[in-house]
Assembly symmetry: C4
């Protein structure tokens, strides 16, 4: 069974999720520069959610690249991941409307945590199906990012209840960990996780 359709379907869902979030950004009330100020948090949360979905698409792309035979279990693990990703616009919208309430900020992190778990399950299914010489297992190496992220999400969720800024800071930090030090730090640490 080819992997073409699991890729195409995931691409479709992630493309839609990443795009509909803009639909939910409220258009500034008026044409002045000042009218842009209340839209700024919306914009920043859109950027953060866009980054997360971009990172997921990127890693998904690389992960699926190692797959040769798609199993039924992978299809369901993939749908499970997409389910949590599809909730990102929902929590993004909720956070936008209540940026300084502990519960929405924590829920943003819970959805990120569940997506990370969903990604981990899919990864585990693929590694399992590839047997002892799993190409994916070699590619992810120590997978320190994959192991660190859920810990940081959990800290962020807890922190959100006290300080929303701390929560947002940690959510942004995890995104940056995935984005920035891909080449140098990772080579040192041995966990390449599909860079280039």
């Amino acid at each position: 069974m080819g992997k073409g359709r699991i890729e195409a379907f995931s691409d479709g869902v992630i493309a839609i999720i990443i795009t509909i979030m803009v639909l939910e950004m409220k258009v500034p009330a008026g044409g002045s520069l000042k009218a842009l100020i209340p839209v700024l948090p919306d914009f920043l949360s859109y950027v953060l959610s866009f980054l997360y979905l971009g990172i997921y698409w990127n890693n998904h792309h690389h992960m699926l690249h190692t797959v040769e035979k798609v199993t039924g279990g992978m299809l369901w693990a993939n749908l499970h991941l997409l389910f949590w990703l599809s909730l990102i616009p929902f929590v993004t919208h909720w956070v936008n409307l209540n940026p300084f309430d502990p519960v929405p900020t924590a829920f943003y992190g819970i959805v990120l945590l569940m997506a990370a778990i969903g990604y981990w399950i899919l990864q585990w299914r693929i590694i399992k199906s590839q047997g002892p010489n799993s190409l994916l297992r070699q590619a992810i190496g120590s997978d320190w990012k994959g192991k660190l992220s859920p810990v940081l999400y959990m800290i962020a969720i807890g922190m959100s209840l006290i300080s929303q800024w701390a929560g947002y800071f940690l959510y942004t930090l995890v995104a940056l960990i995935w984005l920035i030090p891909d080449r140098r730090i990772e080579r040192v640490l041995g966990g390449r996780r599909f860079t280039e």
Copy 2:
């Protein structure tokens, strides 16, 4: 004629349907944990509809896998199936707004029933086109799930008029039948229906 585009188009439509339902989930009014309670039924119906669309995509994926030559009849049968699937967000939304009215609950089931019939027509078209040694006919085996589901939908539609809970219970049950016992029960019953 290749099957690439019928797959791509179906993937696109199902990906959009599965994602736009989140757009229709009402964002909690306020940032408290209590504000999440009225959103819970929305969330549960989203999960159920997501499951149904995931099951359809999954089975569609496997079914098309057996197709070598796409006929005009298949294209139309496929569009007919997609039409009923596209109504799932509509009835999901209606049910969310009126969770304890008999008519919306019954209509949810009617759309599921029509989608099941649409799926059956597409399956029948493919089997017919594959001739006496149809690969698809062998793959579906006794097709006990395909035969049981419409019966359960019809019971659920009738029950919905008396008790909405009974309707929701049966709709969930059909989804679980398709999800859970794929490996063991099916092998016993002889109807593998594309597992793995």
Copy 3:
């Protein structure tokens, strides 16, 4: 240059157009059977627009099948066709809100007419690029449907100003001409237009 992306992009756009129309169907105000009555015109116009987009996708699918080399002109002709198709949800929505006003009913037809012209331009571009032995020219035969439809649209647009029912009747008739008599009548008339 391969035709994969022109197909993928068109599939994506048509899939989105066909699906977002449901988003614009107003959910019944209340949970009774009576609440469904005012939604009925919406539903019927959704069915009609779904049929039109299905027909376009279907014919587009077959037409592109004959293409081997994609030219820049085809890309733009295709975008032009997609532009008019993308206005179908807009006019469908307008007609739904004002079903018995001459102007929206006529505009529904104008968009259909422009889409038909867009389709014709794309077809002409492809035939031109294929040279004297154009496979597409042979496939469309006399193209009586392609020639009759714009005439019927123009009559329908004119009639809409007097009687909206006459307009709707003709719009439905054109859809049925494309749908129903594909096999028998067309073989007689010599214009197969990609049937099977």
Copy 4:
């Protein structure tokens, strides 16, 4: 690493962006011909944004055509481009609501400018990865359009603050530069930029 998914994902995102803009076009209030007049600016801005997205898709299509090996840098440069393109419906909507305010008109241009920079970065990444005999470098030639556009955007952004009409005129001019003189002028100037 194949380029299939980067194409599929970009097609998906651009297809969604180009289509959701129609969702935001306000349906005329009433069924008269006069009711269409206030919708006209919406329609014109939709046409302009559709043109821009069509041009981007077209050029993206041709640019990716020269790529053989997709690198991680390209994936991120592509996501960056898609980010700015995804803001086009947002600024289109803002401009529609405030057509004669300097700030929204200027922001429309800023998003176009950022998208042009995003395109340029992706182009530069691809050329860099292709080494000294880069096929893409040859294909773009002098790239006079790619160099002229950002200059015109910057002039347009400045002009928008004084006269919105001047801004709209220049935004339209850039679109036309990309659309119209593809064959003759470009051959003379030596910069073919993927024509045909």
